[in-house]
Symmetry: C2
């Protein structure tokens, strides 16, 4: 029996439809290609930091080479040098394309996927996100930095994240902020704090937890095996995390990806940092978190035409399967 579940943050109904055929064959057909550490055709393998503009470089693990690089995107569609102009065109509103496109190359090794990586490496990725936020928030024209990690969705398998900086808040994040603010104004509590509390009490949608974080399959999951990683204690800004929190974030991130890999193979996925706008002070109503969306290569007309998600895997089933895999 299908049912409708409301996402308490976005205020959107999702259809949980176990009647619908689970695209398990699509999910599970992720043959583990024999991937090498170095792949000559990969642009990120071939990169030479001496010959490229580098925005950030870590060489803590490998003093002679590099562990992680942040570079400007080779084909940016936004530029930070552009003057930010805002004007009307009749009834319409226009702004110049001030912003930035950056790429975080997370490892020199082509095949160092999260699920077979290590805590130090993963912690470095999050430190790099933080360092870029601290640098770019000085530019007060920029309102939002969107960090997302893609695996195999764009044809690139070399471990990397992308960052897009914009002078506005991207629409899905804006909807989330407005929904969370609404909830707070009504209940005087953070909706994410309420989610954490209820999920830890119920247990059925919990994938794993440690001292600082819990990972869950959310109640109104839009996609099969969607996982959110949420700090247990209220915190609006990712970049204000303590050293201890970064360590525990790496720990639960590695654990979650090991479980996803055991259940589904080396799937294509998006892992997105949902953070507060960078120019805001601490927010009572918003709580940063990471959303991991396994990507099913199906074109869903109802999603693209009207934002109507139909998910054939109940989050309780997904969480149970992930809890058992370790």
């Amino acid at each position: 029996m299908s049912e409708y579940r409301k996402d308490p943050v976005l205020n959107q109904w999702v259809v949980i439809a176990p009647e619908r055929a689970v695209p398990y064959n699509l999910i599970k057909e992720n043959p583990e290609n024999e991937e090498k550490e170095f792949e000559p055709s990969c642009p990120f393998c071939a990169i030479n930091p001496e010959e490229t503009k580098v925005l950030l470089k870590y060489n803590i693990e490998d003093k002679n080479n590099w562990d992680l690089l942040v570079i400007p995107a080779p084909n940016p569609f936004l530029r930070v040098e552009t003057e930010l102009k805002k004007e009307a065109e009749g009834i319409y509103d226009l702004m110049s394309g001030t912003g930035a496109n950056e790429i975080i190359i997370e490892s020199p090794k082509h095949n160092e996927h999260i699920f077979k990586s290590n805590l130090n490496k993963i912690e470095q990725i999050f430190w790099a996100y933080r360092d870029r936020i601290l640098d770019l928030k000085k530019d007060i024209r920029l309102e939002y930095l969107l960090f997302y990690k893609e695996n195999k969705t764009n044809g690139i398998t070399h471990p990397h994240s992308k960052m897009i900086a914009t002078p506005f808040i991207p629409s899905m994040i804006e909807t989330e902020l407005l929904g969370a603010e609404d909830y707070f104004s009504y209940k005087d509590r953070c909706v994410f704090c309420d989610i954490v509390k209820q999920e830890l009490k119920d247990g059925i949608r919990v994938v794993s937890q440690n001292q600082e974080f819990v990972s869950i399959c959310p109640y109104a999951s839009r996609n099969p095996f969607e996982v959110w990683i949420i700090p247990k204690n209220h915190q609006s800004h990712f970049e204000m995390s303590s050293k201890n929190q970064f360590y525990h974030l790496a720990d639960i991130y590695l654990d979650t990806f090991k479980r996803l890999h055991k259940a589904l193979g080396n799937i294509p996925y998006l892992s997105v940092l949902h953070n507060s706008p960078i120019q805001e002070e601490s927010l009572e109503f918003y709580h940063w978190h990471i959303e991991i969306h396994p990507v099913i290569p199906l074109y869903q007309g109802e999603v693209f035409s009207a934002g109507l998600y139909v998910n054939p895997v109940a989050p309780e089933e997904a969480a149970k399967e992930l809890r058992e895999k370790i």
Copy 2:
């Protein structure tokens, strides 16, 4: 130079990025397969209305056979027989899956695509949408009927539309309604009426027009060659259109698809009816319209992670190209 343009209805910024490579090869590589009128492997070609539950049948053109059929979807995820129950699960909200999934088989001919169809046939499709609305609005549990026509996006090329009936408004339509209501409360004018007026005055984004309708590439197009067909005069509910309007709608729909076909070939697309909620009386702030989105088979991380659309084709360029093709 990229720029940001705000969709005046959704209040969302879109990046118009001519710097980005236009996926013309993807758009234009739409080989015209030799399609037959009858394709034995197609489930819609094989249908026998005597042996199938039929919700609506037209046989005006072909008295011995049928011109158009509406059937329940073979694998529905929603059911109208379900009792609509609403309850809380802790902080969460749950409803039973009351609703309906229907399929409009627009022609018995496998290859009768809009661009090579005729006015009578196209008018029938819209009359069928209307007849289903008039029938289903009697069920006051249902709030919205989403009609969308898919071509090649779901592997099915036989001309068809889908309809999903839900006891809530799908999220993208809800955002549109809220945005339009906001605009109205601020300006005391319908935002779509303002769009029609400005587009007819500017002309640069107009694709074509007739007595009743205008088709435009919208100012903040999310996708290359996106086209909206809007009634020139204010009207909130599609189903209240006059016979004259249905005729002119078929006329502009055929004209628009002929142009899209000449410019881009037999592309995969979604054509979505944006209508008012069926239980509402006439609305001052909302204006029904049709959105046609050519579908580019590219996975765009920024869209899926945060609703950030990056469109490499300025709507003025797309409209110019479409105006010249006829």
